[in-house]
Symmetry: C2
């Protein structure tokens, strides 16, 4: 392990340059126009896995974007097997005009008062974090002193559809249960509590994402000639959206909270202990004031309570100036973050019933389920979770907090359901990394700390087993 840690430090600059190569490929999985780029990113990654010495490397085609696989099983049957999951696809970069540097031209900058970072779409989510695992493996395989051996068997499963719902991942896992057999799943696609404050995520929220469209007249109408006699889909959609929350900022959809596991007293106490400064947090995102469901603090609301947010609205004329149009249709992208034991199917169905019940009789409703993911809670006492805590303690000099995080990694539920595997979420992102936003970035210090932590994890996990 020591040789690997040293090798990684000695080659950190080259590692960063290689990551930049990958970041240059605009592998936006939600937009069909970028399909070739997604394929190119898969090919680049596969060839890179081969170059660091992994075996069985394959770009596995699916009905969507490809999955990249690679492995090193030379640790043998006595050693445990770690399945590393990550994704090489990225979110769309819009709104483009808010980026200070082009999203697919990685730029190294010092953030305001922060350490040096790489700015690019995917720098943190998840190319940067995924690539740390590749470099940790290389560090074991290439380090002279240890004869190129990993302390664990390692399998890489890197998909290209995480940002578009991972629709072909579960079938792939199902079809390759033997090949993917392991003892634990290791993922770096979450955050740590703060710079220098390590944490491991033991809870994730789920997701139910839908799109709703109301159509009134067949075509856009002149608001003077028709206004007053034709119900306006944009006004009606606003009314329906307004009805989705009550005055306590709770979701007003019937049955929404039926399956929610309430926070235990112990969990609420853990939230209290976290070194969280709301003023700093607000300043980070230039927010005047936070707003949570009545009775819950910021961390509780984000980590352990379900939500409903409009992600996009579109209707009528959106260009410069005024157009006196009565829009034919209005649509909203709406998503709920879910907590155990809510399920995406059930919540989407409840949302659909809400809209069906309230759609005005003058209009037609289209309701489309775009994607979903299960929420998850993971046992913090397992060997793998404790090995991860040891590893991060080795790098940061302090024991990590166990936290619940507001984001969604649906594969965590898939790995549990399909392979019977628990997942360790060892994340190195920060909220200020602006993932899914303009000027996404990832600190070079954390890129290094991540690699070091992963190298330590493999060793500790092999020892603990």
């Amino acid at each position: 392990m020591e040789d690997a840690l040293r090798y990684a430090d000695d080659h950190q600059d080259r590692f960063t340059g290689e990551l930049e190569e990958l970041l240059r490929i605009p592998s936006i999985s939600t937009d069909p126009e970028y399909a070739d780029d997604v394929q190119q990113a898969a090919n680049w990654l596969a060839s890179h896995l081969r170059s660091v010495g992994l075996a069985g490397v394959e770009v596995c085609q699916t009905d969507g974007h490809p999955i990249v696989y690679g492995e090193d099983l030379r640790a043998g049957e006595e050693a445990p097997t770690v399945l590393v999951y990550g994704h090489y696809d990225v979110q769309p970069p819009d709104p483009l005009e808010l980026w200070d540097s082009p999203p697919f031209e990685p730029t190294r900058q010092n953030g305001d008062g922060h350490a040096e970072a790489i700015y690019a779409r995917g720098a943190c989510d998840d190319k940067g974090q995924m690539f740390m695992h590749v470099k940790a493996a290389e560090s074991y395989l290439a380090a002279d002193g240890e004869g190129g051996a990993l302390p664990v068997n390692l399998k890489f499963l890197i998909e290209g559809e995480e940002e578009s719902g991972s629709v072909h991942l579960a079938p792939f896992i199902e079809d390759h249960k033997d090949r993917l057999d392991a003892d634990v799943v290791l993922i770096s696609d979450t955050g740590m509590f703060a710079e220098g404050v390590p944490s491991i995520t033991y809870g994730l929220r789920g997701l139910a994402y839908v799109e709703v469209t109301l159509t009134g007249p067949e075509r856009d109408l002149h608001s003077g000639l028709f206004g007053g006699a034709v119900e306006n889909p944009a006004n009606a959609l606003a009314r329906l959206i307004a009805g989705l929350h009550d005055a306590d900022h709770r979701v007003a959809v019937e049955g929404f909270y039926d399956d929610v596991q309430d926070l235990t007293d112990e969990e609420r106490q853990t939230f209290q202990k976290l070194p969280f400064d709301e003023a700093d947090w607000r300043e980070e995102i230039s927010l005047k004031e936070s707003k949570t469901e009545a009775g819950y603090g910021v961390l509780e609301a984000v980590g352990a309570r379900p939500t409903l947010d409009v992600n996009g609205l579109a209707s009528g004329y959106q260009g410069e100036g005024a157009k006196t149009v009565l829009p034919a249709k209005a649509s909203a992208k709406i998503s709920c973050r879910l907590v155990p034991d809510q399920t995406p199917d059930d919540i989407a169905a409840k949302l659909e019933r809400y809209f069906e019940k309230h759609v005005p009789s003058t209009m037609r409703l289209e309701f489309e389920r775009l994607h979903g993911g299960q929420p998850a809670l993971i046992d913090t006492e397992s060997d793998a979770m404790q090995a991860a805590a040891d590893a991060m303690e080795g790098v940061y000099g302090r024991r990590p907090f166990f936290t619940r995080e507001g984001g969604t990694i649906p594969v965590v539920a898939d790995f549990k359901n399909l392979l019977g595997l628990d997942t360790v979420l060892m994340g190195f992102g920060l909220e200020s990394d602006a993932i899914h936003s303009p000027n996404e970035h990832f600190g070079l210090g954390r890129f290094r700390e991540g690699i070091q932590s992963i190298i330590r994890f493999h060793q500790r996990y092999a020892e603990r087993r």
Copy 2:
């Protein structure tokens, strides 16, 4: 007059071809990218006015798009003077994908069961209708038998900013009161009741058009990492918009109806007499069901009651698929149609107070007044109105109805206030012409009938005075 009527009929084909030339110029006044095209349309029109024999033709530059002027004053002081107003600018053509033929490549087609029509942006509103006046003048000036004389003095004032708020028109009128002095204003920029059913508009609604933007966090956020603790501007905007109407489909903004002149019993009876078939009207726009303010029929609601409509909504991610963003901002274009004695300034101020009162404390409000227009009611017993009725009766063989129309022509109030002139609205549009919508068109039959009616108007107005 007979010679002019005959000349117009003999040259109808050429007239149509000339109109098509003008329709090819994309003179979209709201979009700065088309400024050169707007100028080109003005130049084309000026040169055309000269070619038909008008004097004093000038492309008058303003701080915005130019105004085209031309005149023929040879009828002398004994004859009345008619000031023709029209506009050569057009609405943006979006959504482009819904046009069956390119909006700026005029195409002659037979509509579904309708007469032959020209399809192009501006075919009806207002290039087609404005151009009828030019061709009516040409018909008098070029017809052999009458020695090229008009029975009235004629002045043309054709602007290029009607679709963007006519912001430079009122100052221009003020600066050129002498040049524009006349006895009546004549405009063809409204509709007739139905194909073959002539009508003259005596009432117009006004307009107050605003844009509202709510900004929460500084940048778009990840809905997982922040959702639950940050109030969502799109949800909040929906709530504010929902509050703009009550359950009776009345506008719920405080004081909105304070200055509304209620319909008289006589006016309500006139509305009742109009040959209106709601089922046909609904079918024309593929509408399931109409929706009016409680207590008012479709024609009353559109012609004589004020409204509030969202014209555009924009927030967050609007592309393909799903993006889990918590939007930094959400904006709506909102406009009210006004009736006497509401004023755009007063209603915009009341809207602004509504939004200021209800904007969540977590957000910043921007409220912008985009444009406005005064409502108008015109005396139906004047010489000019009766001359227009005579003229249309001469063409259609039946006396036109006097109607109130839902659209806005703010210059009608400007002509009254600045020049003391009443306006005759002799319109030949139909609701099915799809003005401001994809596939705008204008029937060739109505283009001919319009020219014939205008030729008759000049003669009848000269006789009646």
